[in-house]
């Protein structure tokens, strides 16, 4: 088989893992689930990935890369980019997206017990946080945001607040949480940041 087969197969396994995760959640995810979605045998998964952990590490990488690309693709002036970033936490494209974030939450909860999971999340956190801080930075440079704003500090609150809102919304089954926090965040944080807001 040609050189393409290798990566095509891995891509297919990643997609199968995605579907299996959405259907079963992380805790109930078995190699058999993934194999069923893959349409091939469980043994074959072990042929391509030494262990379940290897497969999952690869999957996290696959998933986080997607998120990072999505964020990097946001365009426009800094204040609009920031708003669009926040909005990413609110839009819930139906059940699939919800199921994914549910599984991802379980997976993140395992990170403290798994160095490789944790390192990937930490790496991704640094990238996303820097991206948000850059938006703020650029806003200060272009004169949209007040000059006495600390980009990293602001990036942290925004991230923590929206991520926390998503988590709380998911765990208590209240899907209004992210939107409510977004509104409050805009009212009590972002609006005060704009140049022209009273100091």
């Amino acid at each position: 088989m040609g050189g393409e087969g290798q990566s095509e197969t891995r891509e297919a396994i990643m997609e199968a893992t995605y579907r299996a995760l959405c259907d079963h959640g992380y805790a109930s995810l078995t190699m058999q689930n993934i194999a069923d979605e893959f349409g091939k045998s469980k043994g074959l998964l072990h042929y391509h990935f030494d262990s379940k952990e290897e497969l999952l590490v690869a999957f996290i990488d696959y998933l986080l890369a997607g998120f990072e690309d999505d964020i990097a693709s946001i365009e426009g002036p800094p204040d609009e980019r920031l708003a669009a970033f926040i909005e990413r936490f609110v839009v819930a494209n139906g059940d699939e997206r919800r199921a994914l974030h549910l599984a991802l939450l379980e997976l993140r909860a395992q990170a403290p017990f798994n160095d490789r999971f944790r390192d990937q999340l930490a790496r991704s956190d640094a990238i996303v946080r820097a991206a948000v801080a850059d938006m703020v930075d650029e806003g200060i440079t272009t004169g949209v945001f007040r000059a006495d704003t600390d980009p990293d500090a602001l990036a942290r609150v925004v991230l923590a607040a929206m991520d926390g809102a998503r988590m709380r919304g998911l765990t208590i089954g209240d899907d209004t949480y992210p939107a409510a926090v977004r509104d409050a965040l805009i009212t009590y944080v972002l609006d005060d940041l704009l140049v022209g807001a009273a100091e």
Copy 2:
């Protein structure tokens, strides 16, 4: 054994569950772990609780009641109470507290799949959120906070931000996260809320 024995035994089992959770985390928690901490046999646990789930539901109740009591015990003027509440997310009393929150995060991640877990978390969220909103409310009444503040909206951001900061700190192994978000929250939110801050 007298009527006391029943609840004393249950209390002992709750404490054993607490220790077992801290030691093993939620995902690796077995009835045997709990029994070992309990100092009695696994069969006895099933004598007192029909199933592992029953036991865990009771434990969540036990734990959340503790949190709620702790928050209710905060005293002083509203702005100080709010600051003290936020500080609760920052202070990490050594490894035990960290291990507890680690396990609790895993447990919360299971709530979407377990109605009884979810309902308890939702109930607790309502109580805690109301408590925070009350602080803001009282601050408005006593003239410490600006009158155009929405108590519930503010409670949600504060909760989401600090809870999110804890989660992100735990999952990526960065224990500076909660303190950083607290500082940013105070700078960009609370300070602007005080009467006397420019509007």
